[in-house]
């Protein structure tokens, strides 16, 4: 018996929930546009008298930052936050009393939520052209590879979100952890400064972390900085992270499920 119809239905409900919060979402999008605008102002000032830095001209760099921030906003570890909330409220007990897996419920909720946000993001994208700089993908091939890389990026963030969410089974105090995650993800993914401009020890560190899969890899493909063998290597790195994180999620989940202590029982 397949649980797929259930997951589709959960995703469909989650997309309606995203829509129910549309005004909040639109406000967030205003913040996002502001962030893109500030990054543009900042980097334009830095570039002032130079044609290119490290072989990248200003328009390409700004495209990188605009695309990176748009997708960092939509690719968000919603599933982990949901899990954390459900554990805190004790509602995870109800989720566990369902005939389908909890991890499956969380993933479908996250996918549905993202799907619900997507139309709102696309509606705002033309404005990103005004406040930031957004050029089309480098080549048709780059566009296709970008989409693949974006799907991988999404898989990575879903898994990271689940791992962070499962921490709630050990401790209820996860606010600090989420704050560190948000900052690390914004910075080490390349959302503020492209990774190729990082000074040396930092660049190596960024290369060892999973966050580069979130913005740097897909967006570098988009602007044509990663092509050919380098591009394939980058996609492979994303796949390796997916496999590693999936194994880790499996392992941690098997420990978590034995540890379940329902709050307030």
């Amino acid at each position: 018996m397949s649980a797929l119809p259930t997951y589709f239905k959960i995703a469909s409900l989650a997309s309606q929930v995203a829509y129910a919060y549309r005004f909040n979402v639109l406000l967030q999008l205003v913040g996002l546009l502001l962030q893109i605008f500030l990054l543009r102002a900042f980097w334009t000032a830095i570039y002032e008298n130079r044609v290119s830095v490290d072989g990248v001209d200003l328009a390409t760099l700004l495209t990188y930052l605009t695309v990176a921030n748009l997708q960092l906003w939509i690719v968000f570890p919603e599933g982990g936050e949901i899990l954390q909330r459900r554990v805190r409220e004790g509602k995870v007990a109800l989720d566990l009393a369902r005939p389908v897996s909890l991890v499956g419920q969380l993933i479908s909720q996250q996918v549905g939520f993202t799907a619900g946000l997507l139309p709102l993001l696309l509606a705002v994208t033309p404005l990103a052209l005004v406040v930031g700089v957004l050029r089309p993908p480098d080549t048709l091939e780059a566009a296709a590879a970008y989409v693949v890389s974006l799907v991988f990026a999404y898989a990575v963030i879903v898994l990271i979100g689940l791992l962070l969410g499962m921490v709630s089974f050990w401790t209820m105090e996860t606010t600090g952890m989420w704050a560190i995650y948000r900052f690390a993800n914004l910075f080490f993914s390349g959302g503020l400064v492209p990774l190729w401009l990082f000074p040396e020890p930092l660049r190596t560190v960024a290369g060892l972390l999973p966050f580069q899969t979130q913005a740097n890899i897909p967006v570098s493909i988009y602007i044509g900085r990663l092509t050919g063998v380098d591009m394939l290597r980058a996609l492979l790195i994303q796949c390796v992270w997916i496999v590693l994180l999936a194994l880790l999620v499996r392992f941690v989940w098997s420990k978590a499920i034995r540890r379940v202590v329902i709050q307030g029982g």
Partner: protein
């Protein structure tokens, strides 16, 4: 009737970090791992026959909710054996879930931001109810629980009573064989409580749904449960019919007399004066020693009686009395859960 739930020697221990009070204590907790083991369920055994409706009673922290969570497979036990409809719940949690409905009074399973009907639609898909049966059950519940006026309203806008009706419908839409109700009437007004009780009783009677009900409201028990299991500090204190519980723990009755001569102190054999208010007196007696009919005859023979009544102990009182006595005799009663 064969047993649908078998619980044998069930034990659940929780480990909690021991925390000394104050800031210093909080800091110390960060570095030391002094753990305290709490036995929330301590060797519980019972069986429930298919179609039974039992009350599972106990004080806060007595281990009621923990037992329910073990039966649903959400918690893994420390020791003991459980079988629910032939399955070991925590080993086959998702399969077991198809057989059971769960309502936690304090926590809703409904989708908070969406109209009530959306949660029902999801359940129809999740439990693979065919369209026709879904339609039929939904119509029936809409009528019994009067869901019509708010079925298209987002759950967050519902009153507690409406939400609870929605939760009950959600738990029964797929006709589970067993229904676990954890304080389903908590916080509801009298009318809402009565409606919920009627619905639970009807589901048990008409569909043969086995119901395990935990509650603090003895009116729920009096209305619904032929049998109760009383637990205290994780152990079964009593398991049997409500009448037997009352007979065992509250064997005495009270005769209330109002005498024409308000100043007289009635002296009837086999009774003990417990209270006096003007011309009205309360006399306790044991009907096993002194039959009611004889006592009444005695009273009329000796005094000029203007009013007479026999007070039955109510369940609330009996249960309170049991727990109060436990506090006095049990050396472990101060143990926190």
């Amino acid at each position: 009737m064969p047993s649908i739930i078998r619980v044998d020697g069930l034990v659940k221990e929780f480990r909690t970090a021991k925390r000394a009070p104050g800031l210093a204590g909080g800091l110390r907790t960060l570095f030391t791992r002094t753990q305290r083991v709490v036995r929330a369920v301590d060797g519980v055994s019972f069986e429930v026959a298919e179609g039974e409706l039992i009350g599972y009673l106990g004080r806060n922290g007595a281990g009621k909710s923990t037992t329910v969570k073990l039966l649903t497979g959400i918690l893994h036990p420390t020791d003991g054996h459980v079988e629910v409809a032939g399955l070991v719940p925590w080993k086959a949690r998702e399969k077991n879930a198809l057989n059971i409905g769960v309502v936690f009074g304090q926590r809703s399973q409904l989708w908070w931001d969406l109209p009530l009907i959306e949660s029902f639609d999801l359940i129809a898909v999740m439990y693979r109810i065919d369209r026709e049966r879904y339609r039929k059950n939904l119509d029936q519940f809409t009528e019994l629980l009067d869901l019509g006026p708010f079925i298209n309203t987002p759950v967050r806008q519902l009153s507690l009573g409406q939400r609870m009706r929605g939760d009950l419908a959600a738990a029964l839409l797929y006709e589970p064989r067993i229904l676990y109700l954890d304080e389903p009437t908590v916080g509801l007004d009298v009318v809402a409580k009565e409606r919920i009780r009627t619905f639970i009783g009807e589901s048990n009677r008409a569909n043969g749904t086995t119901v395990v009900l935990t509650t603090h409201d003895m009116k729920d028990v009096e209305r619904l449960c032929p049998r109760v299991i009383l637990i205290e500090e994780g152990r079964v204190l009593f398991d049997g019919p409500v009448a037997a519980l009352v007979a065992r723990y509250a064997p005495t009755r009270v005769l209330v007399l109002e005498l024409a001569d308000g100043a007289a102190t009635p002296d009837l054999p086999g009774t003990e004066l417990v209270r006096r208010e003007g011309a009205r007196v309360w006399l306790r007696f044991d009907p096993a020693q002194m039959p009611v009919a004889r006592l009444i005859a005695d009273a009329y023979a000796r005094y000029l009686v203007t009013d007479l009544a026999i007070e039955e102990p109510d369940l609330e009182q009996v249960v309170r009395q049991i727990f109060e006595e436990r506090v006095e005799v049990s050396p472990k009663a101060s143990r926190s859960i």
